[in-house]
Symmetry: C2
Subunit: 389 residues, 2 copies
Amino acid sequence: MKNFTWWNPTIVIFGKGTIPQIASQLAAVGAKSALLVYGGQAIFKNGVYTQVSEALEKKGIAFPELGGVRPNPTIDKVREGVARLKASPADAVVPIGGGSVFDTAKAIAAGAFYDKDPWELFEGKGTNLERALPLFGVLTVSATASEVNNISVVSNPEKESKTSFTNPLIYPRVSIIDPSVQTSLTEAQTVNGGIDIMAHALERLFDGAEGVGLVDAQGYALVKTMMELIPQLRQNPENYEARAQYAWAACQAHNGSLSCGRGERGDFSSHKLGHTLSLLFGVAHGASLAVMMPAWARYVCQDNPTPFARFAEAVFGVEDDDEEEMAIEGIERLEDFFHSVGAPTSLRGLKVAEDDIERAAKNAAAFSPFGVVKALSAEDILEIYKLAY
Amino acid sequence: MKNFTWWNPTIVIFGKGTIPQIASQLAAVGAKSALLVYGGQAIFKNGVYTQVSEALEKKGIAFPELGGVRPNPTIDKVREGVARLKASPADAVVPIGGGSVFDTAKAIAAGAFYDKDPWELFEGKGTNLERALPLFGVLTVSATASEVNNISVVSNPEKESKTSFTNPLIYPRVSIIDPSVQTSLTEAQTVNGGIDIMAHALERLFDGAEGVGLVDAQGYALVKTMMELIPQLRQNPENYEARAQYAWAACQAHNGSLSCGRGERGDFSSHKLGHTLSLLFGVAHGASLAVMMPAWARYVCQDNPTPFARFAEAVFGVEDDDEEEMAIEGIERLEDFFHSVGAPTSLRGLKVAEDDIERAAKNAAAFSPFGVVKALSAEDILEIYKLAY
């Protein structure tokens, strides 16, 4: 194991009927007002807004509101939130929604104490940031694990850039996760979210490092569990037990614990390649991963089949003397699984035009070289998009 | 999954050469003095004391010392530490050692702000406790996970009682774990500690609950990993990779994560039955578990074979139509494993006299009925000790 520091201060309040606790948690730190941040109509339909607003009213906590956060959230909404808080301060920020809402709220919470344009935080300029407003979240869509980590991913369409801001100040103080409100998610949301969760584990397991027995075993256990849960939820979206394990798996996959002892802390090339597809063509995040992860894996496993062969054995029980054969079989079976749950497995399936491949490659290459198993050049990136077509 | 709250605020600094960071961590919170708490000669022999004291001296942090904590620590040492702090306050408490030292230091840190005898904390009387001194630990023996939890277990020989005090105030602020200093542990320490680690996971997996897919899978992964690591370390005590995974497994097994989603949060009957053996006959904690866990499991699986059968399948690949047969085979194979690594598997092997069985049963029965799979009466307890003989 490589040296590491483990710290995750978020309090997770998990289970049925837990949402009203948002008010007592805010009151416990003396908050008198909280900026609610949310997306569209979902939280009004599934009753979550009512649960939160009634609880806050009872405790006498004021709650100005900022709605309209979209999937693949943009910096505009962050700027809007920051401007609101600078004009009219609040004691806390309360995201109510999924990863996009949490990511936006985190950037607002930090931007409130940053004296320049908050996009600079995503450009790595906010290293002197000393505080952020505390975040008290209510999660309604499990996938990104934004509810338990210190990462915010936001797009800047003008700059054709989708990137992340990471800072210990933006760990949510409290995240409330009531899996029962997730039964109203669509099948596509459930599948895409599930693939995102798997990818967070796999991108660590595939990092080309030597492997970290215990931590790998926990990652494989998570991937195998997700491969049971996604089909169960397609069959019965109201299966609470499966919703709950899915929600907890989402947290475990990307709260940092699967990075412990890995020097490289994961190879997130698939995420980077997918971000471009979301940014340019509006592809759902999980769907982008279902396409880009197998293509990326096929490309880089020529250089380093070991982590893929290890995965094939641990998850699918593949046994073979030839490591490359094992690796390929593991990747194929992963792709078969994505296919079996109705996820797209090619750029064509995502309705990306062949003519757009070069544009995508050029966009993603802005960050190149990136990658741990293999450092990807602009040429490599183009090849991977072609493979994915 | 049952509702739960997950929170673990301890910062773990893990890896080779990390011990001197104790000083910068103390300095970061403005500590000018810290009471060092330790056991016998080990930390002087393995260089840990020198590493800590030199680092503290460089930062100008004063460090009064309280040595002489023994395995299965007693309340006397806690009282001594509390008296020291009341006479001459310090800003922090720094345990340097294993679970006994951490447990003692935790009770001292809390006792410093408790106005009566600190044993009362173990009797459940300190519910109004509002603060404790911050704990900054340096771990030298992995097993109990005291470095990452809010539990202190201490004995009171006068009252023939060994019991625990649990409070969120006694989570260590920081725990530094350098696995390389554990290469000097004896084989018995490594085996006993390893069994303690396994028991922390198993006592949750055996709690008779319905099972929590993902959390169970993570527990089984941990148990299987430990069954590889213990033999590896018997063969080569200096295997750093195995020491490191062992140390991290210890944290994972008892930091609370394996309780998430379990209503009962584990059945710790084996620990309770073992505590009596440590208290009355000075049996090493891990050795007591190697004997009591299989005996307890055999006894209670007559009433509820399900969790034991699930374990047999997940860990040993046992398949059988008969759940009871599976359960028994799983327990036998666990016992075989304990035997294979040189652990005692009977009270006779622990040199407990047959005449003492009734005394042990009477002592343990002071807490009865306890247990989740089966609530153990005084008669049950006697039967289990007899089975263990």
